[in-house]
């Protein structure tokens, strides 16, 4: 059972459509029991880190998600804000603790170090580089184009696992697969073939 976590943040319609295209029958829910019983969780999200965590906590979903992942081995894919929320801390709107499934922090792109041509937010198709050819990255080219729209990014901070990097003036973490969790800063549901491949790979984990 594939569960898309419904915590009231942003557009889940396209995520559901992409999963359905692949032939799976996802459930959109905020029911904690369903979350615990899932084989795969997708945590979507558009909006601010603080509001996102508030919405998750108000619904009691933080405990259900971490329990599902840590104790039941449920696979999770965080998309865009959803990936950021998997981290330990987000700076946005004054700072909030995340789900802490990985220890990484989330920070605003530093406009001081970016080329003036590089606007924040980073919006559009950009290339993700990886040397990985298995797991989440199976069947993707080593430079795969994905659609991004974000102002904050997760810091790399020695994360171990299969990693994909993107360059927007600076290199940043665009996607990862660790033993327990996966994340994509881009929107696989808006990234044509490459996004469908990544979602299919996640469902196969």
């Amino acid at each position: 059972m594939v569960v898309v976590v419904d915590y009231g943040m942003g557009n889940v319609y396209s995520v559901l459509s992409a999963l359905r295209y692949l032939g799976c029958d996802p459930i959109l829910t905020n029911n904690t029991q369903k979350i615990l019983e899932a084989s795969h969780l997708v945590l979507p999200g558009v909006g601010s880190f603080k509001k996102g965590m508030q919405s998750i906590r108000e619904r009691g979903l933080d405990k259900a998600i971490t329990k599902a992942v840590n104790e039941r081995g449920v696979k999770i894919l965080g998309i865009c804000l959803g990936m950021q929320l998997l981290g330990s801390f987000g700076d946005e709107d004054g700072g909030t603790e995340g789900l802490n499934l990985i220890p990484n922090k989330v920070r605003l792109f530093d406009s001081q170090t970016l080329d003036p041509e590089m606007k924040i937010p980073h919006v559009g198709f950009n290339s993700v580089r990886t040397s990985e050819q298995e797991g989440l990255f199976k069947g993707l080219p080593s430079n795969a184009d994905f659609y991004f729209t974000h102002s904050y990014r997760m810091l790399n901070e020695g994360l171990e696992g299969r990693l994909g990097k993107c360059n927007y003036g600076v290199d940043f973490l665009a996607a990862f697969e660790t033993e327990k969790v996966c994340g994509a800063q881009f929107h696989p549901e808006k990234s044509q073939t490459n996004g469908l491949i990544l979602l299919k790979n996640f469902l196969s984990l």
Binding site: Y21, G23, C24, H122, G124, N126, Y168
Partner: protein, 269 residues
């Protein structure tokens, strides 16, 4: 570095999709027609973005428009912008919950700048596409090309790009609209030299080399075409190959693989 984009614009009018020539509309078919005779979901694998504009005259049925956006978003895995007749935050929210990622605003840039502020505050300025229709005298028209502004296009573009919290400009030539004779590149000279948001050039593309001509211009980030019959069948797929061969930095993906992935996980869950 961000890639350039090829955008398809669908014009919607009370449940039908339209062809426009110099802003005169002609009905071509409904959603079923678009899928069955035009094979839209296949064509969508050859574009980088979809824009859906409600150009209905008279009273609009906004729920029906949202339903059409939803139906189009179902098998279309690219960013989608939707607009036309958005007068309040609620409709913007509804479109964003129907599969759209961005909102296109035209007349409200003039008549309701407060709404622009509200949408930007709620969803971010990257969410707002400012659509600007310019005729051959370089004057700006709003309300589906029926009401002329007192400002020149140069003044209007400077104001919209510098004073309003918008994320992109959709610059459309009314003179070349639907003619298939190529973009009116002179429009780009009307942009302020410091324009900091991406520019989408629209109006007039009829052949793939028009798209290339547009994309090669240094002020252009994306080109749009709204002509349903200039790129029928695998026309857009071939056009895309030509553009990549010409060295235009478009995102790349394998179209056939996506088609083969339909229902590939059906039995594994």
């Amino acid at each position: 570095m961000l890639k350039k984009r090829v955008i398809f614009t669908l014009l919607y009018d009370h449940g039908s999709f339209m062809l426009s020539r110099n802003f005169c509309l002609q009905k071509v078919g409904n959603l079923r027609w678009l899928q069955k005779n035009y094979n839209f979901s296949q064509i969508a694998f050859s574009i980088d973005e979809l824009i859906i504009l409600d150009v209905s005259k008279g009273e609009r049925d906004q729920d029906k428009f949202c339903e059409h956006v939803k139906a189009l978003a179902e098998d279309c895995f690219i960013p989608i912008a939707a607009g036309g007749g958005i007068r309040d935050l609620e409709l913007a929210r509804k479109l964003l919950n129907s599969g759209a990622d961005k909102i296109v605003i035209n007349s409200d840039l003039k008549t309701n700048p407060k709404l622009i502020e509200l949408v930007a505050k709620e969803f971010g300025r990257q969410c707002l596409v400012a659509s600007i229709d310019v005729n051959k005298e370089n004057t700006v028209w709003i309300q589906n090309g029926t009401e002329k502004l007192d400002l020149s296009a140069r003044e209007w573009l400077a104001y919209v790009s510098q004073e309003l919290p918008i994320g992109e400009i959709y610059l459309n030539s009314m003179e070349n609209d639907g003619t298939g004779q190529g973009y009116r590149l002179e429009l780009l000279d009307l942009l302020p030299p410091s324009v900091s948001v991406p520019v989408i050039l629209a109006g007039g593309a009829g052949k793939y080399h028009h798209l290339i001509e547009g994309l090669l211009h240094k002020k252009v980030n994306a080109v749009a075409t709204a002509h349903l019959f200039n790129f029928v069948g695998n026309g857009l797929e071939l056009a895309r190959d030509e553009m990549l061969n010409e060295g235009i930095d478009l995102p790349r993906w394998d179209i056939q693989t996506a088609k083969n992935m339909k229902n590939c996980c059906a039995n594994s869950q």
